[in-house]
């Protein structure tokens, strides 16, 4: 097991470097010249020759003429930077946001909390609904509720989440006025503690409902399919023939077997909503990672965008690792270390 984990982590690190190199190269496709930017203010007070001289010196000083791999290693913090220190991504230097005029790490902290908050909440909500519903549909396959759910879920996973958002805003915020249209908290209010939490929840309710609803379709179908497969196994017939109570058959004999595909789904879905919440955050004006990312891209603040992109990459890589490892935990038949 340990050997396998180490192997997986080694592979993960390799992929991380490949992906980050890819990103860095993409990022370098953008025509920009920090040296020229820095000298822009002094341009008028210098003669062309002196300016050229200074420009060349500065370029050398900033290391802009070096090979892209060297610059990448410097950015990553693998080799010392121009000042002779190891100070790159690996040492916690995520760069400087031109748009916010702050270090990226400072900009990212509060949106990250928001995103994690709504994503975890949406996960709990979605799992709480889809798993019982999926099991029920599988057990009562072909029944009225199952047929209704089948049609309903196809609608759920066909319609893009922003259309669901528009419809829900129209129904719940505009017509019924139950929830605010967008935003993160009552403007001007200075709540603390429990009240702050409730106010947040009030504002996040609609985005959460939309996220949950958007994921109901696909997940319910998946849980249902996994459960139907599990219920058609021979040992279920045996259990029933033995006279095991139906509840025990479903929840203990069948559900455990259905759990493996479901766990895969849950993790990949959890990763999906991290990037999928880009749309929700943008639609509901929530200051999360997704809307920050869009803001970075729109305002050509690529250092910020790159840092957030790396965050997404790390999340998805770690998620893939957890997914692999969880097979072994959920299903004792799987020997992943082989």
């Amino acid at each position: 097991m340990t050997k396998y984990i180490i192997k997986r982590i080694g592979y993960l690190v390799l992929v991380f470097f490949i992906v980050s190199l890819l990103m860095y190269m993409l990022y370098n496709l953008i025509p920009s010249d920090p040296a020229r930017d820095q000298l822009e203010g002094m341009k008028s007070s210098l003669t062309p020759e002196a300016y050229q001289q200074m420009y060349q010196n500065l370029r050398k000083q900033m290391g802009l003429d070096d090979h892209i791999l060297i610059r990448y290693a410097r950015w990553m913090g693998l080799i010392p930077n121009m000042e002779g220190k190891f100070y790159g991504l690996l040492e916690g230097n995520f760069g400087y946001s031109q748009y916010f005029k702050k270090n990226v790490i400072e900009v990212v902290v509060s949106p990250l909390k928001t995103t994690i908050f709504i994503n975890i909440f949406a996960t709990i909500l979605a799992l709480g609904i889809t798993i019982p519903l999926g099991i029920y549909c599988a057990v009562h396959k072909g029944g009225k509720i199952d047929n209704f759910t089948q049609v309903f879920t196809i609608i759920g996973y066909s319609i893009p989440v922003y259309i669901i958002a528009l419809v829900f805003v129209f129904i719940f915020a505009v017509l019924l006025r139950w929830f605010p249209v967008s935003g993160m908290g009552t403007p001007g209010a200075n709540y603390t503690g429990m009240k702050l939490f409730l106010d947040r929840l009030y504002y996040f309710a609609l985005p959460l409902i939309v996220m949950t609803f958007g994921s109901l379709g696909g997940m319910t179908r998946y849980v249902r399919a996994a459960m139907i497969d599990a219920l058609s196994m021979d040992h279920i017939k045996t259990a029933r023939a033995k006279g095991v109570r139906e509840k025990a058959v479903i929840y203990s004999h069948a559900w455990r077997n259905a759990l493996l595909p479901v766990v895969t789904l849950i993790i990949s879905w959890f990763l999906g909503i991290f990037s999928g919440s880009v749309i929700i955050e943008n639609t509901f004006n929530i200051n999360g990672m997704g809307s920050l990312y869009i803001k970075g891209l729109q305002n050509h603040d690529y250092e910020l965008a790159l840092a957030i992109q790396m965050f997404y990459t790390v999340v998805s890589l770690v998620g893939a690792l957890i997914m692999d490892l969880s097979y072994g935990i959920v299903d004792p038949r799987v020997h992943i270390d082989k």
């Binding site: 992906v19 993409l26 496709l29 259309i163 915020a173 990037s275 749309i279 992109q309 998805s316």
Partner: protein, 609 residues
Amino acid sequence: MTDNQKRHSLLRNLFGNRNKEIDIMTEEQIQSPGRMMLDNFLHNRLGMTGLIGFLAIFLFVLIAPHFVPINLGESDNTQTNVPPTSTMMSYPKEMVHNTQAIASGPTFGVGCDKDGHTYTWGYTKITDVIDMKNIPQEVLDAKIVDVAAGYDHIVALDEDNHLYVWGSTRLGQDRIPSELKPSRTKGTPEIIQIEAGYQISGALTAAGNAYFWGNGNMADIDVKKEYQGRVKKIAVATYNYCLLLDDGSVVYAGLQKNNAFTKVPENLKSGVVDIAASGDTMAAVDRNGKITVWGNATHGEKNVPETDSKPVELYGGRYHYTALMENGDVISWGSNSHGETNVTASVNSGDIETVFAGFYQNYAVTTSGDIHTWGLKGHPLGTDDLGRDILTRIIHGGKTTMTVGAIAEIISIIVGVILGALAGYFGGRTDMLIMRISEIIGGLPFLPFALLLSAIIGTRFDVQMRMYLIMVVLGLLSWTGICRLIRAQILAEREKEFVLAAQAMGVREGTIIFKHILPNVLSILLVQATLGFATCMLTESSLSYLGFGITPPTPTWGNMLTGANNSIVIQQYWWRWVFPAAIFGLCTICINLMGDAIRDAVDPKSLGR
């Protein structure tokens, strides 16, 4: 096996002679697997609904663009946020055989009958509070003899020469000059003509004096004194006016020196019998029937058609003119974006008495009092914030969305199938390499990565190239699923005897993979392709919705919804998001239903055998 047969055999099973029952082996012999899949699919009601729905939408967006051309640069500030309506020319039936005057606003019509009653129709709501429908009580009480409609206001004249203005009056639309008001010394001046432009209005008195009032910031509403007392007719364009004098000459009487109208053509010094104005041009017709158009003609207003008969009267819309001929026929020319120059044969039966034209509408009144209309009836699905027709944009947006989705899916299938087949057949190092690449690409967070690519590379290209870029990006990011699937299928297939036989016969490896093995996995590929097509369309629309896909003015179903996420649009301008969202949702639902049905059809397990 049809339903009928099925029921039949069930009856036989229960009560009939069992010898005739087709057992499963016979059935398998009769039906080839392909035939069975097709039958399964055709009997799946949801799947067929999906197929029919998808085909309908697909043909609609494929064929309709040829009939509904789109002008990408189009924007029309007179038609912004108009809800779905087709009543812009629906005059009340009380007006028939009894028409006194009709005037057209951008989206509404106003008219009065010979009894002095005033009516409005069409989309009369100008802002949240201003509605042209709310005719002031004093107007309803008065006996109205003439009406004029501007951009957002209406002027009406009663038989006692009182002027009434309603609608938007914020910019002085109701600031009627004192000369036109009743005074103790001179009495009320008799008014013979009223006209209206963009927030300006004009009136002509029987004494030959012309007066203009309204928002003078952009419009030239002053009149040079030397022409007063000699004016026979006035014509009001959007911001300007010109006068026809009693000596048959046309003059620009405003104080502005250098606009498109100040240089009145030389041949209009005498002999002019009628003048009219469109939005940006003016036209005059002389005694001989020669029509001269001057001004800023952008929509073909100067292309006066040749006619046998002599035009005698002119009427101007926003970008078109209509002329009444000596023989009672009418012709229209200029812009035809809303059908405003489509004079039908039924109109030209030679008995037109007069025409009322304005903005995009024409009303022709025959000598018997019937009213013929042509021009803009309304927008079937409303317009957006730039005054563009939603239906046109849905049609063309659908074409873009489907094209992008289809090509992206084709790219991903080609890449996925080739790499999957190679990995599956050769195994070993090739397999290792391809699967690692696919894992890396599959592991990339999809949406953020597509956003990044679009933002970084997309800025260098123009709209067309950007569209191709989006297709390629989507295609190259979404092939991993198909690749894995094909690989797994090929791994299973390559162990079978027929592959060994082919190898023994010395068939080349490429041929074995693509000709012997691949046809066996085609059905699964079809399912993937169908579902993947929907996914690609969804992704493209999400990118466009966020502003990183295909950018306006090129419409897609995604970018039509950009900016719809605020309560004002959601509530008040519901047609701007309901229709694109509905057709897009319907389309993806149909594709997914179809994909599910195909999967059920090709999967023998679903038959329960």
